[in-house]
């Protein structure tokens, strides 16, 4: 399917798994915030390790739908895997772009969902807002 033929009802949001860093938890929570509350009817997600390991249904979805990747570090696992197996991503977001001035986050190794501090919660909200805006832009473009 050609890129400009990707007519769709949903946008895929693929989050890094990021177990080993707080930005991974922020990626996941921002993705879930978008999926559950901000754009529940316009978005869906897939498990990244399953996708990388060869989940055919997931790879096919990402080939036929625009995908926003949400990564937690410069390794960009979500973006690189999506591009490798399913083609160019519609938008790539790196959580680290939102926390450049936050030493508090940089000094942590990992953090569970219920241990986020106020600064981290704010970043979750900001990232979710950006994902939602990108979803709107992508769907608007596809309506044209």
């Amino acid at each position: 399917m050609e890129e400009n033929e990707k007519k769709l009802s949903k946008v895929g949001v693929v989050s890094c798994s990021g177990e080993d860093l707080p930005e991974g938890t922020i990626s996941r929570l921002a993705t879930l915030e978008t999926l559950h509350h901000k754009r529940p009817f316009d978005t869906t997600t897939i498990c990244l390790p399953l996708f990388i390991a060869g989940g055919e249904g997931d790879r096919m979805f990402a080939k036929n739908h625009p995908v926003i990747t949400v990564d937690g570090c410069e390794k960009l696992c979500a973006k690189r895997a999506t591009e490798k197996y399913s083609g160019e991503v519609a938008c790539s977001i790196n959580v680290r772009d939102f926390i450049k001035n936050s030493d508090e986050i940089k000094n942590k190794s990992n953090v569970s969902n219920n241990e986020l501090n106020e600064s981290e919660k704010r970043i979750v909200s900001e990232v979710a807002d950006v994902i939602s805006l990108k979803v709107d832009e992508i769907l608007k473009q596809n309506d044209k």
């Binding site: 177990e19 080993d20 879930l32 997600t45 990244l48 399953l50 390794k75 569970s112 969902n113």
Partner: protein
């Protein structure tokens, strides 16, 4: 020779509460066994990152899966490491039906109780592995 650590690898499971339980269990174990337990990003490992692959092959490795796809266990094995222990969170959930995780973001009281139960069992097994090594 340095002491080996335990690398705890949970499934990423973003689409199900049981995936969050796997992740939170890994964090609970790391908290309780601070200095001897760590984690590694499963997606990074699956992507073939050399440092991540070396880390799991140089240490004890424990996988926690949330569903029958067994992503954590299978991807670990694909990187040349047979996990020292592999767990299926769904099995614990079936054995402890009163401990029902509620959501993917907040697993609720039931989910947190399940995390405590699973992590207690795994920590006990980790201690057993170390004791057997000393024999």
């Amino acid at each position: 020779m340095r002491d080996k650590k335990f690398i705890i690898i949970p499934c990423s499971g973003i689409g199900k509460p049981i995936g969050t339980v796997a992740r939170e269990t890994a964090y609970e174990i790391i908290k309780q066994k601070s200095g001897t337990a760590e984690t590694v990003c499963l997606a990074l490992l699956t992507s073939g990152d050399k440092m991540a692959i070396k880390k799991i092959n140089d240490n004890y490795c424990i996988t926690l899966d949330g569903c029958a796809k067994h992503c954590a266990q299978k991807n670990t094995e694909a990187c040349g490491k047979t996990p020292d222990k592999s767990y299926m969170i769904l099995k614990f959930a079936a054995e402890n039906r009163e401990m029902k995780p509620e959501g993917m973001v907040d697993i609720g009281e039931g989910g947190r109780a399940l995390v405590k139960t699973v992590s207690k069992k795994i920590i006990s097994d980790m201690d057993e592995i170390l004791q057997n090594e000393k024999k």
